[in-house]
Structure formats: structure tokens, C-alpha cells
Subunit: 428 residues, 2 copies
């Protein structure tokens, strides 16, 4: 056999070199805080619970996501309080105290990345790192009146981060200033050279906004005006997301009946989505932490204890259906939005609940219905603060497919204008 | 409520800043090649099959793993041939030609990262990127006489890489020189500051070496001598891995019976592991590509076509058991090795098969039994070239738990000495 000088190894040859600009460090001069779920060399990663901290030794290396911030030139000033084992959404922690919502001291800050959101909201740092499995960046961002970004699943390394439920776990981040949100994202997503892509459409699902306790036209008006200004009003389309998802995600039928009955005003298909998401979350949580929980029997706060032990008892029943559902939802949203479309939804359906009012219960299925759209599909979502309504923070969310393909920059760029528009349209 | 100046946000405050050294770019001056499964902005990602290339448009961004290499100062010289849809292990590609094994032109190079291994083996580049789902870095590394690294699952972003089966997909890399293997790994794993940790033990499973067609003492002697030199002989322990896995991974019982009968000389528990791995791989492949395959009906080479269509027909049966098995095996190997132990196994059981001899069939269950140990557990594995035996390349593998915790450096450091020792002990 004749020896090809290239040994037949190549499909295509080209020379690809980076353009080196004598750039400044991208995060130079910024301060940040880190949720106590990330490993930092020499510190015990606390996972929100004293029994966890007591039974684990210090980390011997620093999580790559944290290292990337340091290498970008940012300075960390500490680790932040979180909900125990990341298994709540309110931010209340009976052991370490509940971080204070800077907009409303009698309201929960949202969790589980509670301290990270508060540190940004209260201007103690420029940005912070959190994690989002079922809403743990998006909810506290909304409640604390700041930006929060959940990247597409798998886009940022979760190495050195205690897992909650791997099918959904993401590393997210918070900022007050959208340009800082963007700078942090470029470093975390390793996308220094990303160009802006024009979005193809904005889809506003009427049924999702009808769930909200805040007059939905207040929110959608801001979006419509912003999109008109940036791209023209023809980009806006309306849809009924619940019916679409019901048609396109047949595996949901296994979860619809049991959810339908227990709450009014739900969107049955999205409620089923949230039910399936929480099932798979329980199952993966059990695989990760079931042995530790049953061995150590940790002291856990109200609500969290029930959820953790419910998770420990989860069986594999219906888990295979959850996997099919993920694939189907991802395909359905890809069909709906295309690579460059944006879905607009409320981040959550109302203002932050009052402290110690069993906030998790009142948070309920309807909020998780919205949060599970990005959770189950793996799409990315940015929560955009829109100012105050009745003196409490309000937010809207933009969802899109791939951070890498579509661009962090597309979605964050689209987030800035409503933020600016809101400052003129919302009260005070 | 009194307003805490820190809003109760922190668990611990400290100042953490990176040490900036005026370092050189870590990969400056190195050339590399990229498997045609990674997105490179402006090029169609071909996935080894012309029908795939024809039905997909150019990538609009570059995969973060590739970008990281460019930002590190390396220059890419092209994309490499791979097995169709990553669904083979031999490296034979009927459409684009089979890359030539630089050590033996009549032998397969191994796949599916065939061209990437050949480009390094034939000294066309300094290093290359591949992917490893079921062995696609480790096997061609062994067959082409070079180093190949499969990182722990989840440690390197797979964004911008066509998925094969997400539960197992990893981004891996090849090099001839272990110091280059190390430099590339530091950048890919974002671990510039990692310190070396001393390994706690080396476990040599006798049963795994007994499967090999190469006299096992040739290989184990090299390891023993290297470990004696580096750390002292007391670090070496022997074990029977098959029995240990059988005891510790109860879910395997669902897969043992069907595999037992069809081949001689297997280790039943590891054969079952490989059977379960291949089942989950088929199931995830179907979810990823089933629709494309049934719509496009691509022209696929012999063997690959059968495997792809078998995958498309996979049901969810037993998938839940595969998930439990992963958790159990991970726990079992953690118990066996601890955080700092190393498991030594043959990478594959014999020399590269001859071209066009239905190599995949003869590769068989026994090889996949060994490959599935890292695949199912998510542990990292480095394949170390040990020179030639009967004029054909031979390798050994080291497995360990976490790349980040344990250190790329530990495992690569431990790989260098056997490589050097081998040059004195193996023929010629």
C-alpha cells in the first residue's frame, strides 16, 4: 500500500490561529462571591447544612468555574449562604440564617442560590456564581431584582460542584449590570470571539402570562416596545404554549392525570412537565446523596426534610419516560423557536412571598411549570429585572436554544432594552 | 429587622486572588488536529458520513474545547477522518478511506477518533482532539502507539460536539509526548495551578490481564518496576476485579445471564457491564439521531449500518437499571481505590486487527469489558504506549477517580515512568 504523506488522516486541511489582542484581563477589577456548593481549595464546601460540613473535609482544589473567574482577573470575597442541599427555592436557612432580600426585608430572597443573589442585589459584590437545577438562579434573581443567567445544560463545567441532579444541574451567575453579566458569561462559556446574531422571532405565550398575579400587559408591553425599537414589531408572535407542548411531547401523558387535579389555573401539560422534572430530580438526588442522608440523618429544616426523605424513597418507576420527555421537549422547542428564536415568559408568577409563611408550598406547581421549560429542554434562560410593582421586584425571562450557537450575546443584548424600557414604564 | 451590613449573605468571607505570572501561552508553538465531530466556525461538521455532511449546514461557532486550544496558542491544521456517526471502534471508513496505522499499514488504526490518532502517531501534528464514548480515544491510542487521555465524565465541555451517547461522551486528546499530553490537559481541564498528589496504591487485577493475548507479565513487570522506582513496591496490590464488581454492583445481575453464554474466557460481571453500557449507548444514540437516521436513511458502511439500525429499534426496557448500575459501579470503584488510588488494566487485549477482517466482531465483548470500566463509572483513564511486541504497538491503562481532585498530573506523572521503563524492557 502506498503511503499517503498525510496517512489519510484528514477530511479537510486548513490553518486556524487565534487573533491575539493584547487584551486586558476580561474581569479585571470586579469582585464576586461564590455559592457554598463550589469547591474552593482549602475550604469545606458546606452545601447549606452543618451536618454536611461536619462530615466532609476541605476541598483540595478549586472548581474550574471559580478558577476561570480568578484567571479572568476577578477577586472573590467569600462563599455565600444557600438552601440546604440545594433542595428549596425560598432561600430560608434555619442554620445559617436567611439572607436578607435587599428590596424587602420581610420577604424571602429566593433560593437555593440565596446568598449569591443577595450579595449582588445589596451591592456587596459586582457579580456572583450560583447553580440552577430547578430554578435556583432564576428565582432569586427575580426576587432580588437583578439579572440571573442559567446557561444551556452542559455548557459550563460542573466539575468541583456538589451535584444535586445531574440532568438539570447548571452553573449560573448573577449581576446588576447587564454588561457585567455578559463579561462573566464570555469567560465562563469560553466565548471571547462570539459575534452577535439577530434573533429570528420573539414568541409570547399568552397562557403563561395569564398565570401571573402581576398584570401581564405591564410586562408584555415592555417586551413589545423593546422589540419594536430594536427589530420592528413584526418579530413578535403570540402562541399558546400549553397546547403546543401537549401535542408535541407525547410522553407527558404519563404525568398529566396526577397533576391535573391538585391545583386551579394550571396549564396541564406544563404542570406535567414540572411533575416529571421533579421526579427525575428526586431520583438523581437519591443516587447522589441517598446513602449520606440515610447514614448521617442530617438535621434539616422544615419542608426540606420532607423533600429529602421523599427523594430517598424514590424508585426507578417512570424514569425512562422522563428521558424520552426531555428529548421530545427539546425537539418541540427547537421546532417552535428555530436556532435564533426567543421565548418570552414570566420568570415567576408573583412577588417574593413573606418570610416563614411556608413559602415553598405557596410557590407551587404553577411556578415550577414555567421553570421546568428550560430545565427539561436544557435551553438557556436569562431573567431580566423590570423594576418594582407594588414596591416589589418584577422580572421577565428570555429563553433560547444554545448559548454557543445562538450567543449569550443575542439573549443578553435582547435583555438590555426591556430593562431600560422598564425603568420608564413601571412604577414607582 | 436590623439590617446586617452583609445582609446575611455570606457563610465565610475571604479574599482570593489569582497569582498572575507573566506566563507564556501554554500551548504556544504546538500544532493540532480536530476530529470531524467538533464544530469549527464556517465548516460543516461531518460526523464521518457524507449524508450527514450533505444534510447539515456549516457550524456558526467553534466548540469551546477547540477554542481553548487556540486561545492557549496552538494552531489547528485541519479536521480528521472518523468512524461514521462514531459508531465503530476500528477506524475503517468506506467513504473517506481508512486512516493508515503508522506502525502497521495492514492493520486498522482504531476508532472512532481514527484520523486524530493517526495524525499524532504519524507525527503530522503535536497533539489532537478526539472523543471517547465507548473507547474511541483509548483504542486508537493503543493501536497507534501513542498516549490517549479520556477525562472523567463531565470534566471537559462537550458543547459544540455532536453527541453520541451523553451518559458516556467525553472529549479526549492524543499526544506522543507525555509532557504535551499534560500541557493540553491543563488547558482543557482549566487546571493551571494543580499540584501533584502522591498516589495511595496501584491495584493490578489479575483477571483482567489474564484475558490479554500479550504475555501479561511483560506488561505488569513494567508497571511493577516503575512503581517500585517511583514510590516503592509496597504500593502495589493485586485483586480479582470481576468478583469484586459482581459483589458490589447488584444491578449487574439483570445483564449477566444473556452475556455469559456467547463467548469464552470472559469475566461475566465485566461482560455484563459492557452489555449494559452498550444498551444505554444505543438508547441515547436513538434519542439523539433516530429521527435523522429514519428520515435520511444514510449510506452506512458494513457493521455500522447494522449497529445504527439496531440502536434505532431500542426500547426503554432496562434503561433504569443502567442508571443504578452507573451509581453502584462508581461507588464500588471509589471504595476500592479511594480518591488517590490507581487501577491498572490492559487498554485492549491484543494488537490491532488486520484491515477488512470484520475487525469489530473480533474486537468483541472482552475488549468492551475493559473499556466499560471507565465508561460506566465516569472515571478517567490514560492509555500509555509501551513500545512494540511482535512489531505491533502495546499499551497499558491507568484509571483513577476525579481528574480535578486527583489530578491529571498524578495520573500522567505515573504514566511517564512505565513509558520510559518500557523502552528498555520491550522488544525490539
Amino acid at each position: 500500500m502506498a503511503r499517503d504523506p498525510d496517512y489519510g488522516a484528514f477530511t479537510e486541511k486548513f490553518v486556524l490561529q487565534p487573533e491575539f489582542s493584547p487584551h486586558e484581563l476580561p474581569l479585571k477589577g470586579l469582585t464576586f462571591a461564590v455559592k457554598d456548593i463550589f469547591d474552593v481549595d482549602g475550604y469545606v464546601t458546606g452545601f447549606g447544612n452543618p451536618d454536611w460540613a461536619r462530615t466532609h473535609s476541605s476541598a483540595t482544589s478549586t472548581a474550574p468555574a471559580v478558577l476561570a473567574m480568578l484567571q479572568g482577573g476577578a477577586t472573590s470575597i467569600g462563599k455565600t449562604v444557600m438552601d440546604e442541599m440545594a433542595y428549596s427555592i425560598t432561600g430560608e436557612n434555619k442554620h445559617y440564617g436567611t439572607p436578607m432580600n435587599p428590596y424587602a426585608l420581610d420577604r424571602v430572597p429566593g433560593g437555593s442560590s440565596s446568598g449569591s443573589a443577595v450579595a449582588v442585589g445589596a451591592k456587596l459584590v459586582d457579580f456572583s456564581l450560583g447553580t440552577d437545577t430547578g430554578g435556583s438562579v432564576r428565582v432569586p434573581a427575580s426576587y432580588c431584582g437583578i439579572f440571573g443567567f442559567r446557561p444551556s445544560h452542559g455548557a459550563v463545567s460542573t466539575t468541583g460542584v456538589i451535584p444535586m441532579a445531574q440532568s438539570f444541574d447548571t452553573v449560573g451567575w448573577f449581576a446588576r449590570d447587564p454588561t457585567i453579566l455578559n463579561r462573566v458569561g464570555r469567560v465562563l462559556l469560553q466565548l471571547p470571539d462570539m459575534h452577535l446574531v439577530k434573533p429570528s422571532q420573539f414568541i409570547i405565550p399568552e397562557d403563561c402570562f395569564q398565570l401571573s398575579s402581576i398584570p401581564s400587559d405591564r410586562i408584555t408591553q415592555i417586551l413589545v416596545k423593546s422589540v419594536e425599537k430594536l427589530f420592528g414589531g413584526h418579530m413578535i408572535k403570540h402562541a399558546i404554549l400549553g397546547d403546543y407542548v401537549k401535542d408535541k411531547v407525547p410522553s407527558l401523558k404519563h404525568f398529566i392525570s396526577e397533576e391535573n387535579k391538585d391545583q386551579e389555573y394550571t396549564i396541564p401539560s406544563l404542570a406535567a412537565l414540572s411533575s416529571a422534572m421533579r421526579l427525575l430530580q428526586r431520583y438523581e438526588f437519591k443516587n447522589n446523596h441517598g446513602e449520606w442522608v440515610t447514614t448521617v440523618k442530617p438535621d434539616l429544616g422544615p419542608g426540606i426534610s420532607e423533600r429529602v426523605w421523599e427523594a430517598v424513597r424514590t424508585t426507578a418507576e417512570k424514569i425512562d419516560v422522563c428521558q424520552s420527555m426531555k428529548t421530545e421537549l427539546r425537539a418541540a422547542l427547537t421546532d417552535l423557536l428555530g436556532d435564533y428564536g426567543i421565548l418570552v415568559i414570566p420568570t415567576v408568577l408573583g412577588p417574593p412571598p413573606k418570610l416563614q409563611t411556608d413559602a415553598m408550598e405557596s410557590f407551587g406547581t404553577r411556578n415550577f411549570s414555567l421553570l421546568s421549560i428550560a430545565g427539561v429542554s436544557g435551553f438557556c434562560q436569562v431573567s431580566v429585572p423590570l423594576g418594582l410593582y407594588n414596591n416589589l421586584p418584577v422580572a421577565v425571562s428570555l429563553l433560547a436554544k444554545h448559548v454557543v450557537k445562538l450567543g449569550l450575546f443575542l439573549i443578553i443584548f435582547c435583555a438590555i432594552e426591556p430593562y431600560k424600557t422598564a425603568s420608564r414604564m413601571m412604577e414607582p
